[in-house]
Amino acid sequence: METSTAAAKVVNPQEKKIVYKTSDLDLWYGDNQALKKINLDIMENEVTAIIGPSGCGKSTYIKTLNRMIELVPGVRTSGEILYRGKNILDKSYQVEELRTKVGMVFQKPNPFPKSIYENVAYGPKIHGIRDKKILDQIVEKSLRGAAIWDEVKDRLNQNAYGLSGGQQQRLCIARCLAIEPDVILMDEPTSALDPISTLKVEELVQELKKEFSIIIVTHNMQQAARISKKTAFFLNGEVVEFSETNKIFSTPADKRTEDYITGRFG
């Protein structure tokens, strides 16, 4: 982990590697097709934003990237998603292994009803780390990484439910960092937060992209414009446009993208 991120920092932008290569991805909920022929290449150490109106399939897509979508009964997929060159939709791909490399932050803060410490230590513990000293280090490193250490260092043993919504969401980010992932998926992470907490999470994303590849679904177009390098615009289960964020927001190639970002619908 350490060496690969260090190496990633020195390569110049043109040589960045693809983290996720999605080819011809179709997805059905029962008879209802939610994703149609999705083709997307997501690069490492970048923030990729996914925008689009409600029900366009953006959350479905991001949940497919760590196969969380399988929790929904009756989901079928075709096509492939290569993560670092291996097809994760292949049933032989261990989903638990995938999820130790691909962390996820959810729409609503969802800390466990445990202490702050136990929340962060949960991931490492389930992966078999028992050494208290290492766990202590992981907890501190992750909480610092999520910019919440100073707020909680004196009450690590208190219940996480005593934190504010914004703090809970950063705790969830820390919990995700504790498994030292490669990619962080964020499914509308600020939609339940107040503006100040939102700002803190956005600043955090800017820090985190130095070490992680981040894919963020957002309802908030300004947010996508502020924090992402590339943006994908989803509509009715299709990718309408995918390019550099500043290009999408200044000179969109597709009329529908322009209509959406100028607020004519959605």
Partner: protein, 292 residues
Amino acid sequence: MNLINHETVVKRMKSRLSKNSISKWIFFALTMFVLLILGILLFRIFSQGFGYLDLQFLQSLPSRKPENAGVYAALIGTIWLMAVVAPVSLLLGVGTAIYLEEYAKDNVITNFIKVNISNLAGVPSIVFGLLGLTVFVRALAFGTSVLAAGLTMSLLVLPVIIVAAQEAIRAVPNQLREASFGLGATKWQTIVRIVLPAAIPGILTGGILALSRAIGETAPLVVLGMPLFLAFLPKTLLDSITVLPLQIYNWTGRPQVEFHALAAAGIIVLLVMLIIMNSIAVLIRNKFQKRY
């Protein structure tokens, strides 16, 4: 153009308010009526039985002479019965609930099973007595033992425990499971570390309430043919026992008035046990209650 005439609204206000206060008093009266009946029952039991309630009553075996008779054998028998019922019914019940809620696919068969478990909870206890008689007492030849009685009682309370545990497990928010899966946890790790700790208060409260029902049940044990009069204590699981409700049943059937008073004293002992168990259930619920 107003569609609502505010003058008529004000005129109607009075009758609405009086209906409001009348309904409040009706519900108050209903509650008082129930409490009154309960009060009369308790008063009769306590006035009859309190005089007989002493250490000697708790420590004596049953006897043909009312002044020597005690509830000791039945009390110990009840504790033995609980020692069988609690582990058997909780293990089977919670295990079934975990399977149904966490593993079983949501299809016709699963729904059929779920509906039938709820139905079983409403089956008369005497039917479970017949089942126990056929299976445990006769077919497996356990006789009228602690084991046969305990297993029969376990079956009787099992549906209640399953339903309570299912509800407790279902009340654990899905977002906690998602968070755990998202970190790469297996299903089993998620159940053991996230779902069960969050569900344990509900499971235990339901479990203890079910056990207190088992303590008070008489009919299935009568069907099993458990002895109503037993002057020795059980030593192994295959020994016979008698339990508090059976002892009470036995005493109330005697012609002598003294035995009726003894029955009342036995009921007090049973009530105290129930109160203790229900208090434990309330304590557990308050201590572990979680907000999500």
